[in-house]
């Protein structure tokens, strides 16, 4: 079998970027949560807020650390596997991605150290300010990254001359047509991720009767957030979809599994798309609903995949199903928000075991939903890398052979698997040791900037006799 460097590079990029994406999507939401906790602690002086904040900051540190490690690889992928793309788009993407690095750098340099290690070293107001700046920094970082991605979906503010993009208007390029929708959609997704993880972990502690007061507060906060944000996400997602319909109709056609442009298009609940025969098997759908959702008219015309040549269609099945997974999980999230509201009366929300068990499992769903959503938007753009202007085949590194791409693909999978298992295992240890421990941390290790994991003082291995005591007490 001939190894195709293009396919292998696509798999490799999908792998490293998916792996990387799950960390920031969590830290963005979590950073805002921590800032709110710090604000509450500052305002009320209630030690429960301080405890919560100290604990979640510890979790933040570990996840942030893993995000940084996996992110280093990302900044070199464009050059190693997509060098033609890098060269063609550098005039725009180069400065934008550099600004992302610079922002992250700036944030890490100035404020992360204070947040992680400065609780007892700086005045409370300064610590709160650092927490807010870290939260703000994560948003600014995602601003640049999403602007870069959105430009690839809906290029604007640039012109293509002799195979190279030149920027004609920075503001049009940065605020390109799909950017506001993507930024909103992703921002809410981060909040949902943070909320569900906090809710799930708090639920787990509540099931075990650990630190009930603090965990009840955290659960309550996240449930309120879920109640409002999950439905809001549905609305924003709808607007995002309409924007996609306008600029990338083939992506929407693939999401709907709609092969032929027509009216009264049904919303398919189930189907097995068959790209070879350009049709679906086993369709189950609600008549005319897709027309209504997409055009707000039951009789509206929905573009079909037959508008472009077969080789210009995105892979339909994976886009179709990823979209359904994302929407289904979104619905489930709305449901949990509503159930939480119903259980509010008499405070049953933190005392109902089946609900708490359900929340435990729900803590994984935002990650699946986010990845599914990115699958939709990225695979749905195929075969284009820059929509309508540069396709994947033109973008790949010319000198790249299938063997080289396979070698590094296997390499990254192995390395990430090792690093990721160590990281997740350690995160589980941090969660297991729990909130109770947080108060002792600030005592030692105060003036250590910039070592994210150092903020979590949990020994790596399970320990029989001193689970709740950090290792290396002798320090400082």
């Amino acid at each position: 079998m001939e190894l195709d460097p293009l396919i292998l590079s696509r798999i490799q990029f999908a792998f490293v970027v998916s792996f990387h994406a799950i960390f920031p999507v969590f830290t963005i939401g979590l950073a805002s949560f921590i800032a709110v906790l710090e604000g509450l602690a500052f305002k009320t002086g209630n030690p429960a807020w301080v405890k919560l904040s100290a604990f979640w900051t510890k979790v933040f540190a570990v996840v942030f650390g893993m995000g940084v490690v996996s992110g280093i690889v990302m900044s070199f992928q464009f050059g190693t596997n997509w060098s033609n793309f890098a060269q063609a788009t550098a005039n725009y993407l180069g400065p934008i991605l550099s600004y992302e690095v610079v922002t992250a750098f700036f944030l890490e340099a100035a404020f992360l150290g204070v947040l992680l290690f400065g609780r007892d070293k700086v005045p409370a107001g300064v610590h709160l300010f650092a927490a807010i700046m870290v939260a703000l920094g994560t948003f600014i970082s995602s601003f640049w990254i999403l602007s870069a991605n959105s430009w690839m979906q809906t290029p604007a503010g640039t012109e293509l001359r002799d195979g190279v993009f030149y920027v004609t208007s920075w503001s049009e390029a940065i605020f390109n047509p799909s950017f506001p929708y993507r930024f909103m959609h992703m921002g809410l997704a981060s909040f949902l991720t943070g909320s569900f993880v906090v809710a799930g972990v708090s639920a787990w502690y509540l099931l075990r009767n650990r630190e009930v007061e603090a965990n009840r507060k955290a659960l309550s906060m996240s449930l309120w957030l879920i109640l409002f944000i999950a439905p809001a996400q549905l609305v924003v997602g709808d607007f995002h979809g309409l924007n996609t319909l306008e600029h990338q109709p083939m992506k929407v056609a693939a999401m709907e599994g709609n092969w032929e442009t027509s009216r009264n298009v049904p919303l398919l609940l189930f189907a097995i798309p068959d790209q070879a025969n350009q049709m679906n098997h086993f369709e189950v759908g609600i008549p005319s609903l897709a027309s209504f959702v997409l055009t707000h008219d039951w009789n509206g015309e929905v573009p079909g995949l037959n508008e472009v040549a077969v080789e210009e269609q995105p892979p339909v099945a994976i886009v179709f199903w990823s979209f359904r997974v994302m929407v289904a999980l979104g619905m489930l999230m709305i449901l949990f928000g509503l159930v939480g509201l119903v259980l509010r009366s008499k405070g049953r929300y933190w005392q109902t075991p089946w609900f708490l068990q359900g929340l435990r499992f729900m803590s994984l769903t935002p990650f699946v939903a986010v990845l599914a959503g990115w699958f939709v938007t990225e695979i749905g753009r195929a075969p284009w890398l820059v929509q309508g202007m540069m396709n994947q085949a033109e973008s790949v590194t010319p000198s790249l052979t299938g063997g080289m791409a396979l070698f590094t693909l296997i390499g990254y999978v192995v390395v990430y698997a090792m690093v990721f298992s160590a990281g997740v295992y350690y995160l589980m240890r941090v969660l297991y040791v729990g909130i109770e421990d947080s108060s002792v941390d600030a005592e030692y290790e105060a003036d250590r900037p910039k070592r994210p994991f150092s903020a979590a003082h949990v020994p790596f291995e399970l320990d029989n006799n001193d689970t709740h005591k950090p290792l290396n007490q002798g320090g400082h």
């Binding site: 060098s83 590194t397 990281g423 020994p459």
Partner: protein, 333 residues
């Protein structure tokens, strides 16, 4: 006439970033290279503690360099990374392993030996890959129409293997002189003991590289043996630095060996720069050929004017906070 020669400004910024990275990550990679040879486990704790507060700040220069290169000299980025494909992969995985080892070794007990190996192995592989990259740069790259057209392993030649070992020796020397400055007693004694053999190793490898380089490429030979004789001051300064390391280590000075080693790196680096100036993708493209659009270079420059001073100030502050000797058992874990 343009008011500013933007590509030139950017060449200075990136060139500055590279030497900052080499000097700063160099000593902590060096500590990793020396790690398996340390006298005992307690010394390893201290060694790691000397670099723990600063290493990841050091590595951010690499990420900034990578992104800055894409923005300012996309041609360099899009030719070098494909050409050095396997080498870049080894470099990144090496850095990942040692980064993770940094975090977990202090928290590990029974699995500590695994993290020791991850730290030492990652540091060694990453350093060797960096040296090989330098060698590949001296060799030049096979391009056509702004695209790399060579093979996957063109960068791996006897010459680049030698430069890889040169970098290992050089970083190890940076590491040992750093340890002289930052430690005391038994460990410092050990660092003094290995510094002179390491210096000898560095001089031998650097010597062979210097003699070999003119034969690798005609342009480099012309540069050194034509009328531009003023550049010979650089190798002279390199030798002076080497002598200074030798003298100061023998006289048991604590700071000077490290400073002189940094001097040795800077003069060698400048020697490399003048060998190829103004070509950034030898032998084809100069820095002006490789530059991105002026508007793009300007757009990013505005941000960096504000950020670089902050980063430098912060870096200086970190080193100030963690100045002085590191003793056993008082690490920042």
């Amino acid at each position: 006439m343009e008011l500013l020669d933007l590509p030139l400004i950017w060449a200075f910024i990136i060139g500055f970033g590279i030497i900052m990275y080499v000097l700063m990550d160099g000593f902590d990679l060096g500590v990793g290279i020396l790690f398996p040879f340390a006298p005992n486990e307690e010394s390893r704790d201290v060694m790691m503690n000397t670099v723990a507060p600063v290493w990841d700040g050091n590595e951010t220069w690499l990420v900034l360099g990578g992104a800055g290169l894409l923005a300012a000299f996309p041609l360099v980025y899009s030719i070098l990374l494909p050409a050095l494909y396997i080498g870049v992969f080894l470099l990144l995985t090496g850095l990942i392993f040692r980064g993770v080892a940094f975090e977990f070794r202090f928290k590990a007990r029974s699995s500590r030996y695994l993290w020791n190996w991850a730290f030492a192995g990652g540091s060694t592989v990453a350093s060797f890959a960096q040296g090989a990259v330098v060698g590949a740069y001296i060799q030049g790259f096979e391009t056509a129409n702004g695209v790399y057209v060579g093979g996957a392993l063109d960068w791996l030649t006897p010459f680049t293997v030698l430069t890889g070992f040169g970098m290992l020796a050089g970083y190890a020397l940076l590491g040992s002189t750093w340890l002289i400055m930052k430690t005391e007693g038994h460990l410092q004694e050990w660092a003094y003991k290995i510094t002179l053999p390491l210096l000898a190793g560095v001089l031998v490898v650097f010597g062979i590289i210097s003699v070999w380089t003119p034969f690798v490429d005609d342009m480099v030979r012309d540069r050194w043996f034509s009328n531009l004789s003023v550049i010979w001051i650089l190798p002279a300064l390199t030798l002076l630095c080497a002598f200074q390391i030798f003298q100061s280590a023998r006289n048991r000075l604590e700071g000077m060996p490290f400073v002189a080693t940094m001097g040795l790196f800077v003069t060698t680096y400048l020697g490399l720069v003048v060998s190829r100036w103004p070509y950034v993708v030898p032998p084809e493209y100069t820095l002006w050929d490789a530059a991105s659009a002026p508007g793009s270079q300007m757009f990013l420059l505005i941000g960096l004017v504000f950020v670089i001073p902050v980063v430098l100030g912060y870096t200086a502050w970190t080193y100030w906070v963690f100045r002085g000797k590191v003793r056993a058992g008082e690490g920042y874990h």
